[in-house]
Amino acid sequence: MSDQAPILILAIPLFSAFVISLVGGLHRTVAFGLLTGAMAGSLTMALVALGAVLQNDAPVHYQLGNWPPPIGIELVIDYLNGLVLVVVAGCALLTAVYSHHTAAREQGDRLHHYYTLFALLITGLLGMVATGDAFNLYVLLEISALSSYAMLATGRGHAYYATFKYLIMGTIGACFYLLGVGYLYIKTGTLNMADLFRLLNTPEMHASASIRVGFLLIIIGLWIKMAFFPLHGWLPNAYSRATTTTACLIAPLMTKVSVYIMIRLMFSVFSVDYVFRTIPWSRLVVWLASAAIIAGSISALAQRDLKRLLTAIIVAEIGYMVGGAWLANANGLTGAIYHILSDALMTLCLFMTVGAIILRTGSSSFSAVENLCRKMPVTAAVFLIGAAAIVGIPPTCGFFSKWYLIRGAVQAGAWHFIAALIFASLASAVVFFRLIEIAWSGTFDGHGHGTPPVARAEAPLAMLAPMVAVAALLVIVGLYTNEIVANLIRWAIPAGL
């Protein structure tokens, strides 16, 4: 059983998608049960695979159809993507539980179609993370992208146009990636990542202009997909117009998986030598990352709507991870990988609380949080922890990712990146303290005269349970930072950094 775990991570959600579309229409409980079961199964298999990696201290290779690579497609699970697989499957499971209440309200009798897309999206994301083949990655990228377009469009109304813009940009990104892979294929004749790594890292290939163009196309394609500044224009509208469940699922995962793929291709297809020494872009990219952080934070300061505030923060957070990966030292990359984990959790946490606030107040403007501490005390507490993580207050995990990123930036001498990180912390502190003040004092405009009694209206248990779990994880991951870094992330850092 456990040697089949890598393929079961993908096969369980894939087949559940077919089963949900066939029998999920019988009753919404059937669809919900199948989806939650599939996500739990996938998470279990991801944990089994990660356990096998830890136990053997070696990557797990799974040959599909027993065709040996480089002819066949293989799944490779190592320290880096074992961690990301657990994050993706875990977030998907929590969102699936959370969706019991929200998705049923949003989708009505189309719930099973929606859950089919949910399962397909997760299949695509897990596949992108697990695969060891560059073309297979493109196919899975499009599977997840197509499901995400359909899910975002269920927001209706203005969501249609926002989704259309995302579809156009997403297709450009994916096609750039495909074109870049074509360049690598012309030069090497292979698509297997390990084989590409072997063939690409020769002095002759390092000097090749085709490889350089291929690398550039792949990286720009991924930057469009992850909404890296200045290619982020599609993200705020697409995510803020989405329904609560869709936003909770897509916002934490899609961008983070694209960041993982960038790191994977930089170090497992190309090499440390190639990315940082042969081509002289790393300084420029760190500057772009600083610009992304500053632009996202300024945009966050200007928002008066909770969902749009969170999308602006996502744009800034992408800057953290891209900057960390391109700092060209082990601390920066540790920060970037750790931030994939912590940012997925804190984005999920905040989108879930905003979903609960929208459910009870019907609005996502800042005035919706008035009296939140009295109306929805649990939601307010979860929101507080999520906000603390974004600002970077210990012991939440947001503090530790910033800690590693700043250490990496000091080592690389990238002072502008440190300034941008501190600016982002201050900006998010300003925004969130303002929100917490509104939530506590109960007035948006500051002219409160006493406080009228407010009825308790907490979110239903199906939403509260995953929210509390995520908030707890934010603190637990923060407290166990040393163990996570020492046992997992340190081994994911490529040699030579």
């Binding site: 197509l146 249609y160 146009y161 579809l167 297709t171 074109l179 294929y185």
Partner: protein
């Protein structure tokens, strides 16, 4: 000019792909009509498919089917790779065509929804309507 023209003629397949790619990219970015954006997207995807198909082709190569594939007399050494086109990029592009068709389908479905909601598929009119 004397050096450029033979260069273009020798690599005309790549030039065709590049020109189509730029036409598609221009359509996706610059056109105001959303249907024309979708057409641009299709041209863009097709140009990449053509690029892949052309890299598998060789001068004077046959289609990669082994006629005498069965039987003991066909030793592996007898197969000359240079005599056959590389089938792998062509097979990859079957998948890419499927992806392109699905993307086109989703895009058209969303465009239909846009038309019903905004009563127009002109981008500037949609943006005007959203500001009101």
């Amino acid at each position: 000019m004397d050096t450029i023209i033979p260069y273009v003629i020798a690599k005309y397949n790549y030039w065709a792909a590049i020109i189509l790619l730029l036409i598609g990219l221009y359509g996706m970015i610059a056109k105001n009509n959303l249907m024309k954006k979708i057409i641009g997207m299709s041209i863009f995807q097709t140009s990449i498919i053509l690029f892949y198909v052309s890299i598998g082709e060789k001068k004077g190569a046959a289609i990669p089917i082994l006629i005498h594939g069965h039987g003991a007399e066909t030793a592996q050494a007898a197969i000359d790779p240079a005599a056959f086109a590389n089938p792998l990029p062509h097979v990859l592009m079957l998948t890419a065509i499927v992806v392109g068709v699905s993307t086109l389908g989703v895009a058209l479905a969303i465009l239909q929804k846009i038309q019903r909601f905004h009563n127009t598929i002109e981008e500037d009119e949609i943006l005007e309507g959203m500001q009101e």
